[in-house]
């Protein structure tokens, strides 16, 4: 074997600058995840069809029978965004289990990259993928009549909160992905993520639920996220009435996202560093 390209001994003495490698390494890892996703026809099909189907289901199938005090398309669009994003983000758990089932995780860990970049790459890729899904949901909604008179700042705020939610759910998915042993077990999170928005103010006002369920709906993380996004985009609350100051709701929403994100990512990193040792 020839060694025309001399790359010998590159690592020696490079230690002080190692933290500088975290960002480019994370980007490389994310690039890998995205490239693999693009070549998976099943995943692509679901990513494209799910938003369309859920939107049709809610607006045309259930929508006619649900009275929320405003047009149902506007009311439900933020919920559909979170539903699709949550489901997409939860697929990160399955992707992580699949990585662990081949030797590739061991190879990454035997290389001079920080363990955290493997997880961070998945989070970054999932955030990118699900922002695309969010765009598709909005495009579908707009094509069937969704209109928002929100200003640029309100849109920016809404996108920011949705992004925070996606990142938080992906971190939770990362924890499930490093704990679960089989793709089927990891897929369980997708079920929870598809279910959680239903028991919130996403599709019906919580006031219509029995007291015990309303208690859950009003105190779970999806509700403040929905209330914030809906308030920003169409200026209405879950009861269909105009909302005023969203500051407190937004703060609760972001606190939930930050809490879920930090706790699950810390736990995931802890488990990841010890697995197989």
């Amino acid at each position: 074997m020839t060694t025309a390209v001399d790359v010998r001994g590159l690592g020696s003495g490079a230690a002080p600058a190692r933290w500088l490698r975290v960002v480019p390494d994370t980007v490389t890892m994310a690039g890998r995840v995205l490239r693999l996703a693009r070549r998976d026809p099943d995943e692509l099909l679901v990513a494209l069809l799910l938003p369309v189907m859920i939107m049709v289901l809610f607006v045309y199938v259930f929508g006619g029978a649900i009275e929320v005090g405003t047009d149902y398309l506007s009311y439900a669009t933020p919920g559909v965004i979170l539903l699709c994003a949550g489901y997409g983000a939860s697929n990160t758990a399955i992707a992580l289990v699949q990585d662990a089932s081949t030797g590739i995780m061991d190879r990454f860990r035997s290389m001079p990259v920080a363990d955290a970049t493997v997880l961070a790459g998945h989070v970054l890729a999932s955030t990118g993928k699900n922002l695309v899904t969010t765009t598709i949901v909005l495009a579908v909604a707009a094509s069937i009549g969704f209109r928002s008179d929100a200003g640029a700042l309100a849109w920016l705020g809404a996108v920011g909160v949705v992004t925070a939610y996606i990142v938080a759910i992906t971190c939770a998915a990362t924890l499930v992905g490093v704990v679960a042993r089989t793709p089927a077990a990891a897929g369980g999170l997708g079920f929870v993520m598809l279910f959680l928005p239903y028991v919130s103010s996403a599709f019906v006002p919580p006031e219509t639920m029995p007291a015990w369920l309303r208690g859950i709906a009003e105190h779970q993380p999806v509700t403040p996220v929905i209330e914030t996004v809906r308030g920003l985009l169409i200026g209405l609350g879950s009861d269909g009435a105009p909302v005023g100051d969203l500051g407190a709701t937004a703060a609760v929403a972001l606190a939930w996202c930050a809490g879920i994100g930090v706790v699950s990512l810390t736990a995931a990193a802890w488990v990841f560093a010890r697995r197989g040792r």
Binding site: T3, V7, G11, T102, G103
Partner: protein, 323 residues
Amino acid sequence: MDDPVVRAEGLYKSYGGTRRPVRVLDGVDLRLGHGEVLALLGPNGAGKTTTVRVLSTLTRPDAGTAVVAGHDVVTAARRVREVIGLTGQYAAVDEKLTGRENLAMMARLAHLPRRAVRARVDELLEAFDLAGAAGRQLRTYSGGMRRRLDLAAGLLRHPRVLFLDEPTTGLDPRSRHGMWDVIGGVVADGTSLLLTTQYLEEADRLADRVAMIDGGRVVAEGTPAQLKREVGDASVELTFAAVAEATRVASALGVPTPAARVLRVPTDASVGHVRHVLAGVEAAGAVPEQWQLRAPSLDDAFLALTGHAARGADDREPVEVAA
């Protein structure tokens, strides 16, 4: 070997929690010299993979120390990772990426200078006879091609120490020989190599030194030549109708008494010696039910060198380990 590039002393590792722990490593001692090739030879479950995992920083030993290129695998894992290459038993490549994409990604993660990535990837694809398939996704590759790419991925940075865990297990004979040639080329480059294998032939072909591992410890060590001298190149295997008959032939031929109806007589496999053995059988008035010329197996090697058969994973009892 005053200054080995890999030195492991008293490695212990148990799995399975505190209730019924199974000791996988039971005091492994190893040394690998600069530019040397050491084969860890043993049956499934002997502790080969765990040893490689400890040395490549993937698994933390319960006790013992291991130093790779001057860095402790536990306290300086990051340093170790900068100078090793690992190709494990399971494919560490992405099926849906092309050969070139796989290597380029690994090259970036190995922190090759941006300018060097393309040239180094091309160089390895060429050297491993994969240039023609570089643009194809890996799911179209044969088993041998995939292993070669996997090996190339571990070599991107010219590692000082290369670990190969069962590099040819599951390959057909032709691909296996191709893989041996490739590994031979890497070693000729001066890379220190520790490989694990279940095949005596593979250890003989590639290694300067062989460490036989069984039940989580190194049970014998030597050059392939020493090993083969002990084991014998081959044996004439005779199956008789009764143990008594086999015993009678054994004493006539002056070989150890067998415990069963099967008698193995070491041979250099030359026509003259085989004829001599068979003539001896005939002279003893015995008629074997069947006979064959047999290459030495891993079992023969264990028997010859350790006096007992390889135990592997299945026969191993869980041991009590202080939690």
